[in-house]
Amino acid sequence: KMTVEQDFEAVDQFPVGMRVLAVDDDQTCLRILETLLHRCQYHVTTTDSAQTALELLRENKNKFDLVISDVDMPDMDGFKLLELVGLEMDLPVIMLSAHSDPKYVMKGVKHGACDYLLKPVRIEELKNIWQHVVRKSKFKKMKSIVINDDHSQGNSDQNGVKANRKRKDQFEEVEEEDEERGNENDDPTAQKKPRVLWTRELHNKFLAAVDHLGVEKAQPKKILELMNVDKLTRENVASHLQKFRSALKKITNEANQQANMAAIDSHFMQMSALKGLGGFHNQRQIPLGSGQFHGGAATMRHYPLGRLNSFGGVFPHVSSSLPRNHNDGGYVLQGMPIPPLDDLNNKAFPSFTSQQSSLMVAPNNQLVLQGHQQSSYPSLNPGLSPHFEINKRLDDWSNALLSTNIPQSGVHSKPDALEWNHFCNSDAAQAGFIDPLQMKQQPANNLGPMTDAQLLRSSNPIEGLFVGQQKLENGSMPSNAGSLDDIVNSMTPKEQSQAELFEGDLGFGWHNSSLRTCI
């Protein structure tokens, strides 16, 4: 069995080659999605049918790490797929949609989606999705560690402390400074007051209650009653509700804003087309370059379930976080015993519970509640405690990463040929890591040829300037960019000169084929 240290090693390498199953009945979107995912260096399998997707998953659930699926598909409701995948395979599922209506987001949340992305999807959003997988798998591993390490508290503490530090370094910015938690994140021993950790399960109960009562009309007292969770107070619910409402409001506003901007822009454009007016391009007005806008762009276009989750509930990773200071025996955030949950399950609550209850197996796993002295539960590894929550901080963290010039370098820090060989037997593996860095470049000179020096310069890849076809000194451009009809008619055959191009160049050639074929 893996030690905690080894676990973190795996995390470092992990995102590269992550196996994604992409599902969308729209062939245009699917093709784009596939390419975007490849750019993120994931391994991609695509299908245009939810039914096929299910079959693929059932055939071998260990074949994939994550599923991304459109919600509007003819042969099966995307939400249904989501539910089934969650239930049967317990894989993280990300929803995709062109619907910006928050009610769809809610629906996705309730059906267990890890995330909800709006089309058109941007690559920045996909770069972070691997974290959903880490959280889920971390949780699973910790479950087994907890169960197995019941009696080895001493050892695990030691490892745990180290792991804790390492983990904190890695995820530090991910931790949200929620008012409820305050700055206690930084000091595990100074738990000032008992607080509620809104786990996915707990949050789902909250959601169900709110849904039942109606978002507008729901009141903390009634919600509390419906939730029927031991030791939860009205205050807890009230503050959670407040956050929830404000997040929902924000999302709705953004969605409306986006829709309005699009509508306004299109009207404007048609009117002013002949006048050649400027100022239209970027209806979202989001410069692609700066790190802070990643958060902006993401929040506009992708329902940051992280934000909804900032109250903790929705994602599995939250449940995986162990109470911080269980050792001091004081205000331990204690898991609720399971039987009451089953009772809840039996009540007329929506269907998410079965999915969640599987997460509740680990004894430490919480509906973390207040003021319960730790007694019957095993001493838990303090190192495994911190919050993994996706939340707004996730965006910030990814900003921090992205703004340091080299994307993902903090994520997969060993861009060496071995990793690629592990996933795809490619000799040109090294080149693969160059690719994303050079993909987007500053055009130094729009009119002149791109010299090799320019090609190799690594500029800030986040600047979203498109890269036209580039020329290498030793060959001509692949000249198969003919008319669309030409292209349709002659899709595959590559010209001789182009084949030569692949030889001594940056080795992009392997990129497509090897990732697609290797499984």
Binding site: I32, A263, S266, H281, N282, G468, S476, M477
Partner: protein
């Protein structure tokens, strides 16, 4: 680098800029271009091909749905519009996407006349875009054949 190539490149740049300026394309198209590289030199063309195929199919579906002698199934029309909206937004076909947004509202309002008119507009719009992009690709081809490289165009 001879004058002919330079001239073609200039022409190309201006053409691209005008496509953006006139609202045919938006920054999503820019994103698409950025995904194309030496390893996938046909990427943009392939995706656009798929997109225009989709247009043909979806417009056909909508025309059929609207051509009912009995009651029109607006939700069916709406579903197709929704799909078109998704794909047009993904390729940066700004005008088409804009029309889809209006179209959706018309479907929800079950405005038959409005829908029919909007569908006609969609039809014209995607065909116009297709022709424009064809011209763009042709320019690229000419540049390359004249021994030049296709310039990156800075939209901003």
């Amino acid at each position: 680098m001879d004058a002919h190539v330079a001239q073609l490149q200039m022409q190309y740049r201006n053409y691209i800029l005008s496509l953006y300026q006139q609202g045919f394309l938006d920054d999503q198209f820019t994103e698409l271009k950025s995904l194309q590289d030496d390893g996938t030199p046909d990427f943009v063309a392939e995706v656009l091909s798929l997109f225009f195929d989709d247009c043909v199919k979806l417009v056909g579906n909508m025309a059929r749905a609207l051509d009912q002698t009995g009651t029109v199934d607006f939700s069916q029309v709406g579903a197709n519009v929704h799909q078109l909206k998704g794909s047009s937004s993904s390729v940066g076909a700004k005008r088409v996407k804009g029309l889809c947004i209006n179209f959706k509202e018309l479907c929800e309002a079950k405005n038959y006349e409005g829908c029919v008119r909007c569908l006609q507009q969609v039809d014209i719009e995607y065909k116009t875009l297709k022709a424009k992009l064809q011209d763009m690709f042709n320019l690229e081809k000419q540049i390359v054949q004249a021994g030049g490289i296709v310039p990156q165009v800075d939209i901003n």
